[in-house]
Subunit: 546 residues, 2 copies
Amino acid sequence: MSRTRLYLFDTTLRDGAQTAGVEFSLEDKIAITAMLEELGVDYIEGGYPGANPVDTAFFEQRRTKRASFTAFGMTKRAGRSADNDPGVQALLQSQADATCFVAKAWDYQVELALGSTTDEHLEGLAETVRVAAAAGKEVLIDLEHFFDGYKANPTYALACVTAALDAGARWVVLCDTNGGTMPSEVREIVGTVLEHAPGEKLGIHPHDDTGQAVANALAAIEMGVCQVQGTLNGLGERCGNTNLVSLIPTLMLKPYYAQRFETSITLERLARLTHISRAFDDRLNRAPARQAPYVGASAFATKAGIHASALLKDFSTYEHVTPESVGNERSIMVSQQAGKSNLLTALARHDIRIEKDDPRLEKLLAEVKQREAFGYSYDGADASFCVLAHEVLGTLPSFFEVEHYRAMVERRHNAQGEEMTVTEAVVKLRIDGELLMSVAEGNGPVNALDQALRKDLGKYSALIEDVELADFKVRILDGGTGAVTRVLVESRDASGERWVTIGVSPNIIDASFEALYESITYKLLKTEAALGSTVTAHRRPVLAAG
Amino acid sequence: MSRTRLYLFDTTLRDGAQTAGVEFSLEDKIAITAMLEELGVDYIEGGYPGANPVDTAFFEQRRTKRASFTAFGMTKRAGRSADNDPGVQALLQSQADATCFVAKAWDYQVELALGSTTDEHLEGLAETVRVAAAAGKEVLIDLEHFFDGYKANPTYALACVTAALDAGARWVVLCDTNGGTMPSEVREIVGTVLEHAPGEKLGIHPHDDTGQAVANALAAIEMGVCQVQGTLNGLGERCGNTNLVSLIPTLMLKPYYAQRFETSITLERLARLTHISRAFDDRLNRAPARQAPYVGASAFATKAGIHASALLKDFSTYEHVTPESVGNERSIMVSQQAGKSNLLTALARHDIRIEKDDPRLEKLLAEVKQREAFGYSYDGADASFCVLAHEVLGTLPSFFEVEHYRAMVERRHNAQGEEMTVTEAVVKLRIDGELLMSVAEGNGPVNALDQALRKDLGKYSALIEDVELADFKVRILDGGTGAVTRVLVESRDASGERWVTIGVSPNIIDASFEALYESITYKLLKTEAALGSTVTAHRRPVLAAG
């Protein structure tokens, strides 16, 4: 059967820029446009030329190769012609292919916010569409407050739709501006709109204020709307816009939609989705959401327990789509109830191949359980699991041995009588018999130890240069014999990979040092694997084994 | 019109425990139960007695006052009677009010995962229900894989529903185990189930793998299902369960649902929702999601721009519900008024009475906002808020002044060649002009500083003898000018009261010392209030204010 074409409109760079704490530079906008083109959306709304210098500069060139490059702005103001409206002209003179003008579909808002009459506003909408179309732009109209407006005055809301289409707009987009509309209401109201306008000219623009932006988009699509607006990772004002990263796989992989609709995105591009989503978070300097649908680190993760054994028999029963289809990975976590088959899967993830009846597997299982009883938790610290596995299996090179470390923090008055804190750390280590001793300051004892540890790692120094501490978390646990401190360190390197290591000890400094040590060991292990074993030494040091 | 009663079933402590990186201690389970009771859900599923020592211990007492205390387990195994099944017996002998047994509604899964026949499984389900009901428990059956099972073999899936009800189950819960079902499918399949079973005996258990767990729950409720299962903040395996924190306000505040349904939760309790959601994240040592519906820090935040000016004219046009209804706050520059009344409420909690037009209130508001911009968060650190309020209002006695402190941690070999870590701290303080200097060892720098700080507090020593450090949490935040460390210290005393103080600094030791200092100050403040001001001195020390 012939499938209906759905158009994907990305507004990450426009509505997404309304997110608290997000501010895009010109470079950000260029880099994010490249991500969106890699994904393959139809429209990239780049911003609001004329409203700020970054957006104006962004629209001085056509920034897309494939997607329609779209500028956002307001319809002309009352009391002047569109030709004399500098806001409208900024869009028309930009290098945009398409222009998306926002108008208000709620009579109360027109009077309250614009201080305009509803007739003037309607006429301004139509004139703006005509002028933009005459200037050669594809024209979209975003109807702000459409659903609330429809509830208050359906006649006016529908008049906005028909006025825009009659004037030549390619698309009219129904916006749930405050995000409060329910899927059942979307279904009902869109149904009425479709009696006045064709679905192939309608779009939907939901917000996630009740956690239903994706469901609202799908409700509108099921009714017949053919364009959906959203953002990467659900960026956007308040609770965010429709998350395209959640929506797209559903449209492409779930049979109900895949049979009825087609999009601009190929299955090959879909397999880049996890990568694109995480690269976008990296760009924003945010930690990716672990529980994000499809692309989260936990999206295909199962803890050992009642599900894991069934999962191993047939992945499809606990996975509604395959992790590979969106470029994600299955992860069966190692934890208290870990069995041998979980362990084998976890080892395979680190390219450690071992037979099921190898006695070292039993030993590793016992070691994991003993450590978890003490306070370790390997399901969140996969890099430490990798290091531990190599150690127990006897395949961990002793890159270096730590002989001694010390950290000191002092709060005192300086010579001028001002308060100051001084932090200093010393690390003494041995590489191939040679003793190396480093001292460093830091803005805390862990930071100072980290600095001192990496300051001189001899032949390894160049290999760990790009490692950065991305996050550091501490918890006190009631261990079996008293309180212990659990430290989780998240590291990242220039490749974009992130890994988590763990340290547990009654002493927070020892726990932190262990996690730092394992982070560097993990980095050396993966570098060694990439280089082919050129940097190894004899045995693992006693000290950091903790 | 008479409204249908909806039942809220929380599974944070059971399905939520499947979340990657989450492991609840007995203390966590007790604390989270208190949060759930404060919210007012109907059922609290506490875990799986018999499966692990924490859950078994948790079910040795009835842990709820109001909610139905619910134990989870599997229906009896094939080949033995329920009376001889240790799994089933662990639930029946627990102190649970209700027992929720999981059975599989997908014939393929029964054969694959259980290696049992479908008839045996159906009979086992019914026998388990009968035995549990005879033992005086309210019985729930979770039908795992219900929707996939229904698609594969509707006859068997429906037979599971009717077998459970015929055997006397109070509830049959339809589980979307892999989270892949769409709201439109939920609507259709639930519609058929309702031809065979009454809605007042059916529950829904969605997962968020397509970002539609809330929409799936609402779809089932709209069809007539009367129980919904979910978790706090959407915790749960993979992408999580239905987020009750998102769902509950929709059910209570959106007219469509509020007119048709009632829940166990009052509007007064709903106004504690933001607090409960954030306290739960604190317990897990996670940063609350800023964009979370209703309770996120950004949920009612508007950036200056096209929306803010309209918002200022009428809040209701950009807010689908009021922030106060869920205990959240609007965040735009000018919302001083809302801020002030919140502040007065918080002050009254500490018996600090002040007039609404007192200029010091403005000053306190500014101070709180400035500190929160830097990384403080008084929402979870009420004792620090109390200390700060007294300081800004000029009513904080200077109990003692800290002049200097130092902490040192050293890892080295002792004379016998064994590894050892030595931690030592020195604190120098002044009370009524007298200089007191103490040194102490500890199992970490914070512990050593804590010991040294309390070792000799002169005339206050007896008053703080019963203070204990109950918990200590650390997070790195991206502050405005770089990374800062936020430390939360929970203290308790012989009265059983617990209080939380906060410290923020680029240096973890300074942040920790600030939180320790404020904890002791808070204890002295409350002792002083109890004794009637017999222990006060002049002004607050400079050092710990930083």
